[in-house]
Amino acid sequence: MSGVDVSIALPEDETPGELIKGYFTLMRAFGWDLYVTSHFALRESLGPQWFAARISELKHSDPKNWRPNHRFEPQDPGVILRDYIHEQDSPYLSVFGGQFQKQTAAKKILATRNTWFHFGDDPTTAQLEEAAKVVRGFVQSSDMHIAGRIDALIERLSDLRIGRYPADAVPSASATVPAVAEPAPLDAPEDLPRPSIGGTWVSPIPELRYRLTRAGDVVHPDTMESVRSRVTGDFADKVRAWTAVEPRGRELWIDTDGAVGGFIGATPRLLGYLGPDPEGDIARGFFTPHFYAVDGDEIADVDTGERRKTPLAQGLADGAMLRVTTYGDVLLVGDDGTIERVATVTPAEWFPGHLG
């Protein structure tokens, strides 16, 4: 077993930043819990790849609401809740039940997210407490895992509202930060499918660390043998894609299925595969820092004004916003935050220097 991070940050005060911190981590933990709970319930009847299969079914049967080129992450609570609320054949009905109350709770959870991130009004402590209670009710009645963590959040919010936190308004030299026990991560089942490339590595991390050399090779740390012969396709392209964001210590691990991982900062991440990448991965790797806009038959870097003529600009609306990942996936960013892949480019086909 290994874990996913389902810690919930407790706000220190009632400012919007502190409340959003609590909200963000609440929803992240809830998303993982929804996914892992569904996985335990569905993997036997539907197989371990049930999530990918379900998404592909939805894209096929209802491409208008489940756009084929969009990226749907299993741990995004919006994805599972939307399916649960709107699709009559949703597998989640068998996991969470179809009671009116539960469905209403799911709708409320989605609605809170939609209001806060349109910045009409500042979030309030009472709103977050209400949202936490709705999530708490859903979690409790579904035999999920994070109820205790949500209780801690609800208690903190109530303390903030009535002025019980912080306890000591007068700072004193002897004041100590209360020890907050770091909750253990949620145990993830070992057969949890791989995340998208760039996503958090959730399965156990192999101990053996391969090394990226200055000459662009990836070698076994003891035999110093190159992994070149195990790679499908162009080796230099693969290594560039895996390491466009340099893994810490220039160290990589390789799992038995050929998945390649490494630490980016403190987070273990899936960086790619020895073999071909899964077809459903539409935004592989990490976003580069550049933003582009479509202008006629050209694409312009919106910061530098640098322009490039490219066939892919045709067929895209003027002004459409594009981003590109370290893998060269070119993504159309919708106003609603959705992303859609419109092309995959090589460094030579793109703005010089932007793809390393």
């Binding site: 090394r211 050399t213 200055r214 000459a215 662009g216 090779d217 070698v219 740390p221 003891d222 110093m224």
Partner: protein
Amino acid sequence: MSSFRIGPVSVEVLDGQHAIAVVPPSQWHGDRRERPARAVLANLKADDGLRAQVSLVRWDDSDEISLGFAELLAGPSDYERLEDAGAISPKLVGDKLVARLRALRYGKTGRATGATVEWAQISEWAGGDAQALLADLGATRTGAYGVLLPSATRFKTEPAIEVPIADPTALFAAYALTRVVPIMTGYGKESVEGPNA
């Protein structure tokens, strides 16, 4: 790939040339900019756990050539010294490389730096006649620097080696003997393996 063992060090010289970007030694105190180069790579291994890759680098836009740039993959931390010391800088003479050989030696500061060395010492590290062993590995000549490079004005009596640029295997052997082994054996340290007190 050619593999051999010299003294306590196993060396594998990898086939072909590899694109690489490194700062040439002439710019270590200059602009310190990495420049594109081609490199012949060799893996060095020893029983003490050493796993390092060293490169014989030739920069695209100059005659500068240097052997070193150790990338330490594993092993005792005193080998980290190889990452910033001990480069060999051969001279290109026709289709040959001529290098003067010094050895890393620990000094009073506790740091190993390049110091003059005799063939007898190098042979001791090699466990046999070093010049004969280097010749077996493809060195075209070994001997005094002043003989191998008549234009040399200094250090004429110091040991030197000449190898074909097309097959620099013996130069990696010289690196193993005069860089790796001195660190492994604590060459120059006053008391390397004292008795238990």
